[in-house]
Amino acid sequence: MSTPATRRKLELGRVGESVKRVDAVPKVTGEFAYSSDLFAAGMLWGHTLRSPHAHARILSIDISEAVGLAGVHAVLTHDDVPGDKRYGLEFPDQPVLAFDRVRYFGEPVALVAAEHPEQARRAAAAIKVEYEPLELVVDPELAADQPAIHPQHWTQGHGYRDDPRPNVVRDMRIERGDPDARADVSVEGYYELGIQDQAFLGPESGLAVPDGEGGVDIYVATQWLHVDRDQVAPCLNLSREQVRIHLAGVGGAFGGREDLSMQLHAAMLALHTNRPVKMVYNREESFFGHVHRHPGRIWAEHRANRDGKLVCVRMRILLDGGAYASSSTAVTSNAASFAVGPYAIENALIESTCVYTNNPPCGAMRGFGAVQTCFAAEAQMDKLAAELGMDPVELRLRNALASGDELPTGQKITGSMPVEEVIRRAAAIPVPDPEELPRDPIRLPGGAGNTTRGDGVQRGVGFAVGFKNIGYSEGFDDYTAARVRLFADTDGDLVAEIYCAAAEVGQGVTNVILQTARTELELENVMLAPGTTGEVGSAGSASASRMTWMATGAVQAACRAVRDELDRRGGGLASGDEIDLERIYRHPRTGPLEPETGQITTERAHVSFAAAAMRVVVEVDVDLGLTRVVWIGTAQDVGTAVNPQAVYGQIEGGTAQGLGLALMEEIQTRDGLITNASFTDYLIPTALDMPPVVAELVEHPEPEAPFGVKGVGEPPTVVSTAAVMSAMRAATGRELNRVPVKPDDIVFSGS
């Protein structure tokens, strides 16, 4: 036997270095297996029959013709759900398959498994469902006075402010200081946001494989494997151990994969037929398959003194949660918590309400409530600057939040909060000079459409600042588990295998995990085992910009435990020996908000905060209402950048999504029915829509976080909608209080 294996010098891939993605090569060659690429011998195809009504009673479902069609192996309805008939991310208000009534357009009603996907589609079309339309609840301002969509008040009794009105999901207020405090000047505004879709490119899909012993393995694209399992198992009437969720390749997520889509349905079909069942939504179905960003209506009043100091902010926020609760209660609270923006304020009254309607269900999307209020609050700050005759950047600097300040909830910021530096750094990035005319039409609003030679084109420069929480809030018991198995390979070298169920959704957490392990173990040979509920505890969700912080903390803790054990054994392992330890990491505890005043009940309601500032240059053809975003410069508070290349990628991509909400992205509905469920009609930014983005990282390590990290995914999306709209108002001189802004708003709306 050779000498025991020991650690070798580390060459590559520590925390803080730009490291190439480990999955990049299989992704550029086409070999990477996404959830829609999976295959199993004898597999059937599943398909979902969905409601054509936004609100209707189900009188009868007749499957007799469908079951007799060629190739069909199963047709299932709510009668076939083996266990609990309802599930939900936070409240079990959503039927596995609709019974009694449907509450939104596209709600799942029945399932088919067949040998060919086309056979499954045809069989679904042969199911006869008799509906009786019910009164529609589609205007969020009327919802609380209309008949309840859910007779059971699911979200009541969970420590929120008591509100017995029908259809109220959550109603909250944050009251700070004297909400009637007067000041030298006051500006008021009303703002509106449409429904934004995550529009991840890889539609909902996955494969369910029965294990032959009554259990099931589900391979799926998701953001949180264990919470999927915890929702699926009771509805299948199985134990948690009998349901194993495995992470398949994820084609983007952005919040839209927090809730279940096809997981339960494919598993029901697989268990019923005893065959593997694959389900893949098409693009239209994907618009029905996940929750969206809450549309909002916001009334705001900002009061300030002549010197620019904010005195009082009053805001009323109304969010349309659609037919099911999803994460609406947390979005309602987040919208309120970040309503003022990253500014110190002594007096505030923030009222935030979310209602059930028969519109598309809404839940998590990148920015999670803070996007909506940042758009309104930053428009207010621009208005205030104009009223005061003050430079908008100067006004923001004068009110910039800093460590030691208190938020409107009374929470004192104890960690890093470099808002002033973020503003100064973003404002200092040189803005490009206006381009001369004539020029190639591709560099004019309207682009290749060749709609102008420069006549009617006006340039505008805007600025905005935004911030948001990192991690889960309000007392949620948030943790991440990681397991490290250290062993000696056949060459006598030490190898570490990491188990962590953190969902790699494209953001790069795989590299973060490997970099952390390499740094902690000082080992080159580190690999990450596939994500599964079978081998390791919960990682929590790849949401709330939390995954880098939490995975880093858990992997660090497990690595340190393994390192200590290795030292105890003399620093080496004999061939065949191994150390295998699992550790759980928790971020600092948070507590709930007092329901009537929205004030903290413990030291904090949120864990940590990250800010971003952004300057945007646009050119707008004010005759045709067409826009070209020319340039974006931004600075972001990132704590410590674990993999700087990936951080820049998050900033650029997050910026694009906020630009999309400002200028083009909206799910349109008529009486609750989605009218644009396609990429032809729901537009997302293309290569021609995105300008150059100059990004700077502001690195102030977060004292309580492992390696000083912060999350980086959401702040760019929070700030960019507001920043683009600031530039749009500067270019047009119009109020433009609704996003996405439409050409007619630019040409015809009020100034």
């Binding site: 060659t29 297996a33 829609s36 490119l201 890889g202 084609g251 494209g506 990628g649 694009a656 021609l688």
Partner: protein
Amino acid sequence: MKIELSVNGERKEADVWPGESLLFTLREKLGLPGSKNACEQGECGSCSVLLDEKLVCSCLVLTAQAQGHEIVTVEGIAEDDRLHRVQEAFVQTGAVQCGFCTPGLIVATVDLLAHRPEPSDDEIREALSGNLCRCTGYQKIFDAVRLAARA
């Protein structure tokens, strides 16, 4: 109906129905899932392949139309197990995040550089405007194309 076509230099046969798209045949019958299905109506470019050296959305081509033609998919871009310079550039620059758009963008970039070996920034943006990416904001994709053009 039986269709014969060349895929990545190999002669292939497939039994297809008349309405079957080339994308479906590639993914489900020929074991080539690299081309992605993200919209199935020619808006996103995720299914881009070369058909007789022309860039097409394979979701909009019927397999029956490809009878006797030569198809190159993302799986056929690398040469002898070595990454193509376009693939290498996407890896180096961080142009890949979730990667669902990447196969289509690799094929579209190979096509662009075949016709315009030194494209301007505007030409890059226009040439890739038929390929949607939701993760990257395109900045690093542009970096990748510039790097590949220089290589």
